[in-house]
């Protein structure tokens, strides 16, 4: 597993220059609560027909920041982005809330400050 | 296509694949994972099974008249909730005296009725356990 740290502003450019749709596929977006209002966002990729080649792009953000969307490059990211919005209560461009959670359920259950 | 027709036709005269359930009992294999059995005399009260149980279906709770056993220094009694148990047999693997103190049978639990107070009774035990910790 190779981890590459990127900044929130450059993540789209980094993924754009790296992602070749015939070689890599997006496994998922992953979030990780670091502190009460800090989290790590990971974009996990894996290579077709290669032995355990996994590349993780990650960045650390405040919960109030907005994560840029990569759906225009990788259409299948939409579902993971919607999950992150639900689970961590952050904003992702163009992804609305409500994939899993309802109005009356626990909000942002996986972030450091769930309610 | 004709073979499938022929098969469907012969199936009309075959015995059904299912068994006549309430009249014919289900035969369980000898190694089927079922209820956990407990032998009070052999238990050494090490509480390893309690720690190993993933859903917390085994509780040792202090009571007024504990079972007579030399090893039982804290006056504990074994409680087991068959409706919480997932029959994974982690407890039996953790037990230092398996087969004597703790073993797995191939029986299923009885259907519980409201009078058994399956939930409420167990919540009381859990509360008691928390108070004593």
């Amino acid at each position: 597993m190779k981890k590459i740290k990127v900044s929130l502003e450059s993540v789209r450019d980094e993924i754009k220059s790296f992602y070749d749709y015939k070689q890599w596929h997006l496994l998922t977006l992953n979030g990780l609560a670091l502190a009460e209002n800090k989290m790590e966002v990971q974009w996990i990729f894996s290579k077709y027909e290669a032995m355990d080649e996994i590349v993780v792009y990650y960045t650390e953000i405040e919960n109030t920041e907005t994560i840029p969307s990569i759906v225009d490059m990788i259409p299948s990211a939409i579902i993971s982005q919607r999950e992150i919005v639900d689970m961590f209560g952050v904003k992702v461009d163009g992804s609305e809330k409500g994939l899993y959670l309802d109005e009356d359920s626990m909000q942002r259950p996986l972030s450091g400050c769930s309610i | 296509m004709f073979t499938s027709f022929a098969k469907a036709f012969t199936n009309l005269f075959k015995k059904p694949q299912t068994i006549d359930y309430p009249l014919t009992p289900i035969v369980k294999d000898r190694d089927y994972r079922g209820l956990i059995g407990y032998g009070e005399e052999a238990c050494i009260y090490c509480l390893k099974c309690e720690k190993a149980c993933p859903p917390g279906a085994i509780l040792f709770v202090p009571v007024e008249n504990p079972p007579e056993n030399k090893q039982n220094k804290k006056g504990l009694k074994y409680h087991y909730n068959p409706y919480l148990c997932i029959y994974c047999s982690e407890c039996v693997r953790a037990c230092p005296k398996p087969d004597e103190a703790l073993w797995q049978s191939n029986k299923k639990p009885e259907v519980a009725v409201m009078d058994d107070r399956v939930n409420e009774g167990w919540f009381e035990l859990e509360k008691l356990k928390k108070q004593n910790d």
Partner: protein, 361 residues
Amino acid sequence: MKKTINIPLGSQHISLLEPVRFKFECENEKIISVDSDVGFVHRGIERACTTKFKFDAIGYVVARVCGLCAITHSLSYTAAIEKLLGGEITKKAKYLRILLLELDRVHSHMLCLSHTCENAGFEAMFMRIMGDRELVMEIQELLTGNRVQFDYINIGGVNRDISSEVAQKIVNNLYEVKQRVLGYMDEFTNNWSLSLKFKTIGALSLDDAYRLNAIGPLARASGLNIDVRNEIGYLPFSEVGFVMQTHSEGDINARNIVRLNEILNSILMCENILSGLPEGEIFTKLKGKPNGEAVVRFEAPRGELMYYVKGNGSAMLDRVRIKTPTFASIPAFSHIFVGENYADAPAILASFDPCLSCTAK
């Protein structure tokens, strides 16, 4: 006047096993856009894993994510923990893990095939396949002690050894299943309601499969070589005779054929394992607490399953991320529906073999 009509499919529908809702926007018979809602059975398992349970119990918790691929879930989680603890398990335990993994794949694919038949209106075939599936369920029960929740894998190995009678019974039953599956091959290629009707329906092109990151039998039916069993060195799949099964058409029929071929390949793998099962212990005790992060992938019956586990050196984990196969395929599903007839939607949906309790976890 509005030219399109909206037709919902689900959340309760006669062709669905589990709750999912699709909203189809149709122009006459053609579907022109799809909106899906998959979160009806969300149970918060990821949160439970980090707040309620210690790391050694989570293998049993994640097995409850899904009944059909329970073994892949607990195997992936266990493999991640073993990676973090840094231990090596015995060869026999590895072989037994593959054995159950492949038996699970056989019965899961048989369920999907029978369901496809049911949605084609072929009830008799549905009954036949479900009846034959009992042969596999029976040997799974003998091997693990339960039909659905196997609880067979724990950190460091497997829970039960295999006796020679059980091994013999598995060989006998698998031989029987193999004969039946060869029979289905004939039905699925020659029977009018199962083959011609399904050809060119719900097709996914190879380029779209790449673009939408399709996985599992869905991608392999389009000719995309993605099978995690080919891409991990953790379990010795190539040693026991794994061969990737692909097809080029990408339609419903191709998916059925890929699944049938995979069943045959899985049976072959099981037979190879039982004929060359190594001697040795089935369990190695691994000490310590997980620290660090690990990504583990396995091939579940529906495609690639990924676990991300992060530990901090204590008994409670920081994060358990479960990426299930159906979850990742939802964008591809929605894409396939566009341009098809509404009347074909249940058949297309059944051919995806969706698992919603996995998706919503």
